[in-house]
């Protein structure tokens, strides 16, 4: 029952804030939601404690709690249940912790927004859905949570629904996710069709039955069923976790309020895909093709999105592209069968990326909703807490030892190196180069925002996105120097910074190489030995730190920082020159590899013209002309013809009756 409370508390809070929040006093919403999510975090932490410290002595590996059977189809039972194992326990803690901190932060960030209660309702609902997703013990419930977080994401991206760009971004996110969800549900359907069950434990137990089965994609093309199912599932993960080519919604989702970017589009929801693949590790292990598909997609995402991060001027977009890139890292880890590394990176990334986003949000509030990096600068002294926490986040993101990013990213690169699936070499080089790029764009952002001379005074007055403040107030506020954000904003920053620093050192050994995950993640270490090799080389945290100085990633990261420093602080004009020199490349990057344009040209317009064709041919002619009006005309014609039968004369009817009698008698006589 305690388990059920973990997702239900946020749900009740969401319902409260949603239905009564407008009428109740303003601060009730945040008290209820924060309390609910906070309590849920405490319960999750307790579950994690139990899982991590009590279970090993008991020998328990996982616990399957079925709450409720809501559909009994004889052989198939659809249930609401929780699968508690080290994987879900870890995710629960990460989700509830980040969510709780974001709730607290929101109190400060959304202080003046008219949709205050609505916002709390949405994020509490998101927390509920995400918890349902990570805790579920079957595919259907997971899909429910999966769609629930998608819905929450849609609602929150379009939170400021009066802005057309926000509603469009929301739609885009929703539609892109539909593409992924289609793959996901096809994958679920395939597994269900073959195994007849949606329960994870049963699927894992019977995964061997899938080996050797083939499915015919179209006549003559036979693929291993396992591969098709895994790729379909991974397409779902690609949508949710924004992998190339389904990534374009994530940068646009930055239209939403910053806490959302932190919670949903960086820390938790986008990692749902990674989590799902890790959860399905026993299935994915069976298909080398799917693994290699993942590793290639992940590496491509990691490198291309890092490149795009270099040219962004919007502070949130820089962080958004870094998120995409880091998700690519996680996907590579999955492809290399280093599931624990992926999950570990997911966890540390949740901390430092939420931290970076919240810090960016803090800067944005201080500058009155100014998001352009070119109009920042010199905030270091004005906002020391934000600066230092952001710096910690940047170090962690760049993977500098001893911050958490180092402990999670290094193993991924190593795993890509030692993996044996096709494409691992490409992934290794892409990731290594990615380290340089990551450091470069991260510190470019830090330098532009916090160092150098202040540029915010020059900002033009017309471009504010502030909603509440009247023009006069804005004007007055603008001449005040930016000041440090209130405590509800800085405290979450500090907590996340502490997590970002310590998570790596404290948890690397047990999570990565220890037996923390037990059987929750089952790699086939003979066929896919990357993790085993890493494990063999692991000699504890300290030696790993020292070892770092002998490997390229650290030096590449430092080089990236130096490059960023050169182009932003030392020689600010050099960047422009370089962009000028590499005009074509710069254009490609500025236009996001033209992927958005391609989608616009091919898919949007193609759909549009196809729809037009259907409207003209299908709707106007067939549906309206033939079916609707045709039916009417047919009936009319039939009635016109048949009305002559109804003469109104009694004897005609009597004649018909007699005739009918004759026919009946003939019928009976024949028998």
């Amino acid at each position: 029952m305690m388990l059920a409370l973990i997702p239900l508390l946020p749900l009740f809070a969401a319902l409260f804030a949603g239905f009564f929040g407008r009428r109740a006093p303003r601060d009730w919403s945040h008290w209820v939601c924060c309390a609910a999510v906070g309590f849920s975090f405490i319960l999750s932490a307790f579950v994690l404690y139990e899982v991590a410290f009590l279970w090993p002595s008991l020998g328990t590996q996982s616990e399957n709690v079925t709450l409720y059977t809501w559909l009994d189809l004889g052989s198939t039972k659809l249930t609401i249940g929780f699968l508690i194992d080290p994987l879900s326990a870890l995710m629960m803690v990460v989700v509830t912790l980040v969510s709780f901190l974001v709730h607290v932060y929101t109190i400060g960030y959304m202080k003046d927004d008219p949709g205050y209660a609505r916002f709390f309702s949405y994020i509490a609902f998101f927390t509920f859905s995400m918890l349902m997703l990570v805790m579920s013990d079957n595919f259907l419930q997971m899909f429910f949570g999966w769609e629930g977080v998608g819905l929450a994401s849609y609602l929150l991206i379009g939170f400021w629904y009066t802005r057309p760009s926000a509603t469009k971004a929301g739609m885009k996110a929703f539609l892109m996710n539909r593409v992924g969800d289609f793959g996901f549900i096809v994958g679920i359907g395939l597994l269900f069709a073959v195994l007849g069950t949606l329960n994870f434990a049963e699927i894992f137990a019977r995964v061997d039955e899938l080996q050797g089965l083939d499915v015919s994609l179209w006549p003559g093309l036979e693929w291993s069923l396992l591969t098709v199912a895994c790729i379909c599932l991974f397409i779902g993960a690609m949508g949710k976790s924004a992998q190339v080519p389904l990534h374009t919604w994530l940068p646009d989702s930055m239209e939403g309020p910053t806490p959302i970017s932190a919670l949903i589009h960086a820390a938790t929801m986008v990692t749902a895909g990674i989590f799902m693949v890790a959860r399905m590790s026993p299935v994915f292990e069976g298909s080398d093709t799917a693994l290699s598909f993942m590793i290639i997609i992940g590496a491509t995402t990691a490198i291309s999105m890092a490149l795009l991060g270099l040219v962004q001027n919007d502070i949130k977009r820089v962080v958004a592209y870094s998120t995409l890139s880091q998700l690519g890292y996680m996907t590579v880890a999955l492809g290399a069968s280093a599931y624990s590394a992926a999950i570990f990176h997911l966890m540390t990334h949740a901390f430092f990326k939420a931290l970076l986003f919240l810090a960016a949000g803090s800067v944005i509030i201080a500058l009155h909703h100014e998001q352009d990096l070119r109009k920042m600068g010199g905030l270091r002294h004005r906002m020391p807490i934000t600066y230092w926490t952001a710096l910690i986040g940047a170090w962690a993101l760049a993977g500098l030892p001893p911050f958490s990013g180092f402990f999670s990213k290094e193993p991924i690169i190593e795993a890509a190196r030692f993996a044996e699936v096709t494409g691992h070499a490409y992934a290794y080089w892409a990731l290594t180069l990615g380290v340089f790029l990551t450091a470069c764009y991260t510190f470019r952002m830090i330098f532009l925002a916090f160092h150098g001379a202040p540029r915010y005074g020059e900002a033009s007055h017309g471009k504010h996105k502030s909603h509440k403040a009247s023009h006069k107030e804005q004007h007055a506020a603008h001449h005040e120097p930016p000041k440090e954000s209130p405590k509800v904003v800085t405290i979450p920053l500090i907590v996340l910074a502490i997590c970002s620093v310590l998570a790596g050192i404290l948890f690397a050994t047990p999570v990565l190489f220890g037996d923390y995950f037990g059987t929750a993640i089952r790699g086939d270490y003979v066929a896919h030995p990357a993790m085993a090799i890493l494990h063999a080389e692991w000699h504890g945290v300290i030696s790993y730190l020292l070892h770092a100085f002998l490997t390229p990633p650290l030096w590449l990261a430092l080089a990236g920082i130096a490059t960023a420093w050169y182009f932003t602080l030392s020689a600010p004009t050099a960047a422009g020159k370089l962009a000028h020199m590499l005009g074509a490349v710069y254009g490609v990057l500025k236009n996001h590899f033209y992927i958005d344009a391609l989608y616009e040209r091919v898919i949007v317009r193609g759909t549009h013209s196809l729809s037009l064709w259907f409207v003209r041919g299908g709707e106007r002619f067939w549906s309206e002309g033939v079916l609707v009006q045709g039916t009417a005309r047919l009936v009319q014609w039939a009635a016109q013809s048949l009305r002559y039968l109804q003469t109104g004369y009694l004897y005609h009817y009597a004649f018909a009756m007699a005739l009918g009698l004759v026919v009946l008698m003939t019928w009976w006589g024949m028998k």
Binding site: Y651, F655, A658, L659, V662, M665
Partner: protein, 216 residues
């Protein structure tokens, strides 16, 4: 050929001829009288079959009551058969054709279906028939009998209600309305302020006042 057989053929012939006359007579009165004949013949046939109570009942009910009703109606309606149309026109042929096919099929069914060759029993127990019928009717078939009685009652009420025309010239009392009257229908007490002298009270207002002052 025994006498009963002879009787059967004679009666059957009369029955069929009178039936044909019923449907083909030019005058409805002739049709009605032919129908009376048909009923009589049928009653005789039934009596030869030992159902003398039914035969008599048929004579009494149908010939005595129903047919008289028919004749009454005929006379009341005063139908003049102007008869511009020829008696049998082109629609007769299809009717006869259907009738012929129907007859052929029924005959076929009967001849093929009824295997027995035994002559029907003569009316052996004439006294017993009525008694037995009464017993059966009032013991085994009591409830159906009651139902039929109710049906007759309903039919009677329906016939009366359908044809009943209330005359406009009859004056009668309505005791129910007379009793249901209450005080307020008869007397209205009006509360009126005492009249005060106003200087330019319009004169015609007094003229309108009887409605106000007078109660019924």
């Amino acid at each position: 050929m025994s006498f009963s057989a002879f009787l059967f053929y004679v009666l059957a012939a009369i029955l069929l001829v009178s039936a044909v006359r019923v449907v083909s007579a030019r005058q409805p009165v002739h049709a009605a009288l032919s129908l009376v004949l048909a009923f009589f013949t049928m009653a005789a046939l039934w009596i030869t079959l030992g159902a003398e109570f039914l035969g008599l009942a048929l004579v009494v009910i149908y010939v005595g009551a129903v047919m008289v009703l028919f004749l009454f109606v005929l006379m009341m309606l005063d139908v003049r058969q102007t008869d511009q149309t020829p008696r049998w026109k082109r629609h007769l042929m299809p009717s006869l054709l259907v009738g012929a096919v129907m007859l052929a099929e029924i005959v076929l069914l009967i001849v093929k279906g009824v295997k027995t060759k035994a002559a029907l029993p003569e009316n052996a127990t004439s006294m017993e028939n009525t008694r037995e019928l009464g017993k059966l009717l009032f013991e085994d078939y009591l409830y159906p009998l009651e139902l039929v009685a109710v049906l007759l009652l309903v039919g009677m009420i329906a016939a009366i209600v359908l044809t009943y025309r209330q005359s406009r010239f009859v004056k009668r009392q309505e005791p129910a309305e007379q009793i249901a009257v209450n005080r307020d229908d008869r007397l209205r007490v009006v509360s009126m302020p005492a009249e005060t002298e106003t200087e330019d009270a319009p004169v015609h207002s007094l003229e309108r006042s009887p409605e106000k002052t007078g109660g019924h």
